[in-house]
C-alpha cells in the first residue's frame, strides 16, 4: 500500500489489543446515557435547543470580529486584559510573559483542549515553570506522558489497573492505590497541595460572553473552580470561536453540553465567572490570620483568545461549521470506529473523533488530518448526535477531496471514468479511483458475467487485487448478475389497472447489478400493493465517488440522476429507493451537489422502500396482498444512514403488522460501510466493529431470519454470521406465498 497510509493494519491491531476494551466500554456508556437523557428531556425539546444553538453559533461566527472587540472592551472594563494570539507561538509567548511578570514558577491547569493544541505545557516547562494538570483524567495523561485519546475523557483508554500501576510506579505511595477511591484520594491530596501553592491558575473556557466579558466553565470535579479562584492570577485560554454574545445565549448550550457529552442534564459545576471575581484572595503563608489570611493581593485576569487558523476557517465555506463545535465528544461516542480504536487512531495531534478532521485540517493542515481521515466511513451516525448540527461526514468528505488534490495537483477525478486498473500506477489514488468508479466496474462486471465473477474469484486475481488495490483477500467480492434489474423490468409486461401510486424504482448500483433479487422483490411488492412500477434508466447516485472524496465525480453523477428522475417527478411519480445510502445521498448530500430547488424536489419525492410500503398500507393498501409472517422471528439490522434519517421504524412496523416477531439491532453500525471493510488495513477494525452486531444476533440467528436494509451491512453479516441475509422487502415478496 501507499506509504502515506500511516494508519496501517499493524497499528490498528495494536490499538485493538491494548486500548479497545476500555474505549468501547466508556464511549458506549456515554453514548447510551446520551440517548436516555435526550429521551428524558423529550426529542422535541432537544431539537429546539439544537436549532437555537446552531443559530447562535452561525450568528456569532458571522459577527466574530465585532464580538472579539466587544469582549475586549468588557474584560478591560472589568479590570482584566485580553490578548488575541495569532498562533501557538504567539499565545505561548504571551502566557510566558504574564508568568514572568508575576514571577511565577508554578502553574495549575484545568483541562483545556486549546492549550493542548498550542502545546502550552511544553512551552512553560521549557521556561522552568512547574505545570500541573488538575483534571484527574488529564493528570493521568500527564503522568503517563501520553496524548489525550478523547475530547471529553482524555484517559478513557486506561483501565483502573493501569492507572494504579502507573501511579505506584511514579509516586511510590506508602499504601497500594488499588481502588478508584484510593487513586482519587491520592490525586486530590497531591494536586490539592499544588493548587494551594500555585502562582497562576490556567483554565480553558467553554464559552466566552462578549457583553459582560464572562467565561463559562463546565466541570464535574471542581478543579476549574479551584484553578480560577485560588491563585491570585487567572489566565483563561480559549479559541476565538468560543465567543457568544451574552449570558442569554448561553442557555441552550447549558442544556446541551453535558447531555451530549455524558448524558447528564447539567454538569456538576457550571461556572459563570466574570473575572476578576469578588472572591477574596487567599494567603496560605498567613495560615492563622482570619479572612483567608487577610491578604490584600489583587486578583489579576488575562483572557487569551487564540486564532491559530480559525479566522481562515471562518472564511472557508466548507470548514466554517467546524467552528460551531462545542467539544462535547458526542460525535466520537456515536462513532463505531471510534468505539473500537479510540482517539489514538481516530485523531490528530490534538482533537479526536469525527470532527477532529475539520479541526486538524484547519489548525494543523491536511497532512495531519490525512492520518486518520479515512477512518470516517460516512455512516452519518454522528450527525444527529451533534448538538449544533454540524454535517461532520461532509467535512470529512471535503477534506478527503482536498487531500486527493493536494497529493496529485492534476487530480481530476472526472477523467478516470472507464478506468481499468493499471499496474503502472500504484498507491491510494488508484484505489480511490477504483472504488470511486464502482459504477464502471459494475457495468463491466455485469456485461461479462459470469466470467468476470469467476476470474475475480481466483486466487491470482485476489492476490493482485490485494497488492494493487488493497482489497482484502479475506472479503467475498460482490457477484455481478448478467441480467440487470433494469433489463429484467423492461422485459416484463405488467399492467396494474388504475394504480394507487406510480413509482419510479431507483436502480442503485447494487440493486441493479448485484442484488437484483431485492429489486425484483421490491417491484413485485409495490405492484401487489397497487402501484405501477417503472425502473428508470438512472445511473449511480454518486455515493461511491463521494466516499472516496471525489466530489466532482459525485456532482456529475448527481446531475445525471436528477436528469433521469426529474421527468418522473414532474409526471407525478414517487421515487422509491432500495439502498439506504443512496436515499441518504438524495436527502442529504445532494443539498451540497445540486441546485437547491432540484435537491428539494428529489428529496421530497423520494422514499425508502419499506417506508413507502408503510405509507401505502396507511393509505388503504391491503396487507393481505403480502405473505404473512405467521409469528416467525426476524433479526433486523437497519442501516446507519437510514437510522440517521429516522427511517428505521417503518421496516419494523411493517414486519410486525405482517405477523413477524422482530428483534432489532441496537449497535451504531455494522462496521462495513461501503468500501471501508474491503480495504486491507481496515479489515480487522471492520470485523471488530461488526462483532458487536454479531454478538447481538448470534444467539437468535438459528431461529430468526436475518434481514438487513443496506448492501454493505448484508455483506458484513453474511461474512461474520451466517450467509443468507436478506433485504426486508424480500420477506414481503408475493412469490413467497
Amino acid at each position: 500500500m501507499s506509504e502515506s497510509t500511516k494508519l496501517d493494519a499493524d497499528r490498528i491491531r495494536t490499538l485493538l489489543e491494548t486500548e479497545s476494551a476500555e474505549i468501547k466500554e466508556n464511549t458506549r456508556l456515554f453514548n447510551a446515557e446520551r440517548y436516555d437523557a435526550v429521551e428524558a428531556v423529550g426529542a422535541e425539546a432537544h431539537e429546539g435547543y439544537r436549532d437555537r444553538a446552531r443559530e447562535i453559533k452561525e450568528d456569532a461566527i458571522e459577527r466574530l470580529p465585532e464580538l472579539i472587540h466587544q469582549t475586549r472592551s468588557a474584560v478591560e472594563a472589568n479590570g482584566g486584559t485580553v490578548y488575541v494570539a495569532d498562533d501557538a507561538a504567539d499565545a505561548n509567548r504571551y502566557v510566558s510573559e504574564v508568568l514572568d511578570d508575576e514571577g511565577a514558577d508554578s502553574v495549575v491547569k484545568s483541562k483545556s483542549m486549546t492549550t493542548e493544541e498550542i502545546d502550552l505545557n511544553e512551552a512553560l516547562e521549557a521556561n522552568d515553570v512547574d505545570v500541573w494538570e488538575t483534571d484527574l483524567g488529564e493528570f493521568v495523561i500527564q503522568v503517563a506522558e501520553e496524548a489525550p485519546s478523547h475530547i471529553v475523557g482524555p484517559s478513557l483508554h486506561k483501565s483502573r489497573e493501569e492507572i494504579t500501576e502507573l501511579f505506584e510506579r511514579e509516586f511510590d505511595p506508602d499504601e497500594s492505590l488499588d481502588s478508584a477511591q484510593k487513586l482519587t484520594a491520592f490525586a486530590r491530596e497531591y494536586l490539592g497541595e499544588r493548587i494551594d501553592d500555585a502562582d497562576v491558575g490556567i483554565t480553558g473556557a467553554n464559552f466566552v460572553m462578549a457583553e459582560s466579558g464572562s467565561i463559562a466553565l463546565v466541570t464535574n470535579e471542581g478543579n476549574a473552580r479551584k484553578c480560577a479562584s485560588i491563585p491570585d492570577t487567572h489566565v483563561a485560554v480559549a479559541g476565538i470561536e468560543k465567543i457568544i454574545p451574552s449570558v442569554a445565549e448561553l442557555e441552550p448550550f447549558a442544556e446541551l453540553i453535558s447531555r451530549s457529552a455524558t448524558g447528564q442534564d447539567i454538569p456538576q459545576y457550571l461556572s459563570l465567572l466574570t473575572p476578576p471575581v469578588d472572591t477574596p484572595t487567599i494567603d496560605f503563608d498567613r495560615e492563622d490570620e482570619p479572612a483567608f489570611g487577610g491578604g490584600d493581593a489583587e486578583r489579576d485576569f488575562h483572557l487569551v483568545l487564540i486564532d491559530n487558523g480559525r479566522r481562515a476557517m471562518r472564511q472557508d465555506d466548507e470548514l466554517r461549521e467546524t467552528l460551531y463545535c462545542i467539544r462535547c465528544g458526542a460525535c466520537a461516542n456515536s462513532c463505531a470506529n471510534f468505539q473500537s480504536v479510540g482517539g489514538h487512531a481516530f485523531g490528530g495531534e490534538t482533537y479526536t473523533g469525527g470532527i477532529a478532521t475539520g479541526w486538524e485540517a484547519g489548525i494543523e493542515g491536511l497532512d495531519v488530518a490525512e492520518e486518520f481521515n479515512d477512518l470516517c466511513t460516512g455512516c452519518s451516525r454522528c450527525v444527529n448526535a451533534c448538538p449544533v448540527k454540524i454535517d461532520i461526514p461532509w467535512i470529512n468528505t471535503v477534506v478527503r477531496d482536498r487531500i486527493n488534490r493536494g497529493k496529485d495537483p492534476g487530480f481530476d477525478d472526472l477523467l478516470v471514468d472507464g478506468l481499468v486498473p493499471d499496474e503502472e500506477e500504484s498507491g491510494t489514488p488508484l484505489r480511490k479511483r477504483f472504488f470511486g468508479n464502482f459504477e464502471t466496474v459494475a457495468k463491466l462486471g455485469s456485461a461479462t458475467a459470469p466470467v468476470s465473477n469467476a476470474v475475480a474469484g481466483t486466487g491470482a486475481a485476489r492476490t493482485a487485487m490485494e497488492s494493487v488495490l488493497g482489497i482484502d483477500a479475506r472479503r467475498d467480492l460482490p457477484e455481478f448478475e448478467r441480467t440487470t434489474l433494469r433489463d429484467w423490468a423492461q422485459a416484463r409486461d405488467t399492467a396494474v389497472e388504475d394504480p394507487m401510486r406510480r413509482v419510479a424504482l431507483y436502480p442503485d448500483l447494487y440493486t441493479n447489478y448485484v442484488q437484483t433479487e431485492r429489486g425484483k422483490a421490491a417491484v413485485r411488492v409495490l405492484e401487489a400493493l397497487g402501484c405501477e412500477v417503472v425502473v428508470p434508466d438512472a445511473g449511480g447516485s454518486g455515493r461511491a465517488p463521494l466516499s472516496q472524496g471525489m466530489i466532482a465525480t459525485a456532482e456529475e453523477k448527481a446531475e445525471g440522476v436528477a436528469e433521469s428522475l426529474l421527468p418522473y417527478l414532474d409526471a407525478g411519480y414517487d421515487v422509491v429507493v432500495v439502498e439506504p445510502s443512496d436515499l441518504a445521498m438524495f436527502q442529504r448530500e445532494y443539498e451540497k451537489l445540486l441546485p437547491a430547488e432540484t435537491h428539494e424536489r428529489i428529496a421530497e419525492g423520494s422514499y425508502e422502500v419499506m417506508e413507502f410500503v408503510y405509507g401505502l398500507l396507511e393509505n388503504g393498501a391491503e396487507l393481505d396482498a403480502l405473505p404473512g409472517g405467521e409469528g416467525d422471528g426476524v433479526a433486523y439490522h437497519s442501516h446507519c444512514q437510514q437510522r440517521t434519517l429516522g427511517l428505521e421504524e417503518y421496516t419494523k412496523i411493517v414486519l410486525e403488522r405482517l405477523g413477524y416477531d422482530v428483534l432489532t439491532s441496537d449497535v451504531e453500525c455494522c462496521g462495513m460501510a461501503g468500501s471501508f471493510g474491503y480495504k486491507s488495513e481496515y479489515y480487522d477494525l471492520s470485523v471488530d466493529v461488526g462483532q458487536s452486531l454479531v454478538d447481538q444476533f448470534e444467539p437468535a440467528a438459528d431461529e430468526r431470519t436475518v434481514v438487513a436494509s443496506g448492501t454493505s451491512c448484508m455483506e458484513q453479516l453474511d461474512s461474520l454470521l451466517a450467509p443468507g441475509t436478506r433485504h426486508p422487502v424480500e420477506l414481503l415478496d408475493p412469490v413467497r406465498r
Binding site: 481502588s179 477511591q181 479551584k226 459545576y269 487567599i282 489570611g293
Partner: protein, 170 residues
C-alpha cells in the same frame, strides 16, 4: 406537609445523593447545628433575615481553619427545583472557598428563591447580570469523577452536599 415545589426540589436532590432538610426561619439555627459536622466554616448568608452568627460556624476563617474544616456553610440566592441545583456566588464573604474546600457543603436556600427549571434560572441570571452581579457557579450534587476507573465522589470539591431549605412564612 411540604409544598409541591419543596417536594419536587427534594426529589431532585435525592436522585443526586444529596441530603436535604426543611426548616422554618425560627428553626434555622438549630437546623444548621443539626446538619453540620464540626469544625465548620461559613460565609455570612446573603439574606437579611438569616445569619450564621449564632451557629457553631466560624465566619471569615483563616486558611488553616478553612483547610481543617469538615463542613462549609453558604447561602444560595437561587435553587433550581427540577435539577437540584444551587447557585454559589463569588462574593467577598468567600462563598467559593467555603463551598469548595471542606468535604461537606451545606447550602442554605429559601423556598421563595427556587426557580422551576433551567430556563427560569437563566431568566434570574439575566437579571442578576444586568444588576452587575455576574459570577455564579451552578452546583449540582457533589463533585465527582469517573477518571479513575469508577465513579468516585469528592474530587476537588465536596464529597457530600446537604441542602437546608428554609420554608417561607405562611
Amino acid at each position: 406537609m411540604e409544598t409541591g415545589t419543596i417536594q419536587e426540589f427534594q426529589q431532585s436532590l435525592s436522585s443526586l445523593d444529596t441530603a436535604s432538610t426543611v426548616v422554618s426561619a425560627d428553626e434555622f439555627e438549630a437546623g444548621i447545628a443539626d446538619v453540620i459536622e464540626t469544625p465548620a466554616v461559613g460565609a455570612e448568608l446573603p439574606f437579611d433575615d438569616l445569619s450564621l452568627s449564632e451557629t457553631p460556624v466560624t465566619l471569615d476563617p483563616s486558611p488553616a481553619q478553612l483547610r481543617g474544616a469538615t463542613t462549609g456553610v453558604t447561602g444560595s440566592r437561587m435553587g433550581i427545583t427540577s435539577l437540584g441545583t444551587v447557585a454559589v456566588e463569588s462574593r467577598e464573604e468567600g462563598d467559593e472557598f467555603v463551598a469548595l474546600y471542606p468535604e461537606r457543603h451545606v447550602a442554605v436556600v429559601r423556598e421563595r428563591d427556587l426557580e422551576a427549571d433551567l430556563s427560569d434560572a437563566f431568566g434570574w441570571l439575566r437579571n442578576e447580570f444586568e444588576a452587575g452581579r455576574q459570577s455564579f457557579i451552578l452546583a449540582t450534587g457533589p463533585s465527582s469523577t469517573g477518571d479513575m476507573g469508577a465513579l468516585v465522589q469528592g474530587v476537588h470539591g465536596p464529597e457530600h452536599v446537604h441542602i437546608v431549605i428554609v420554608r417561607d412564612n405562611e
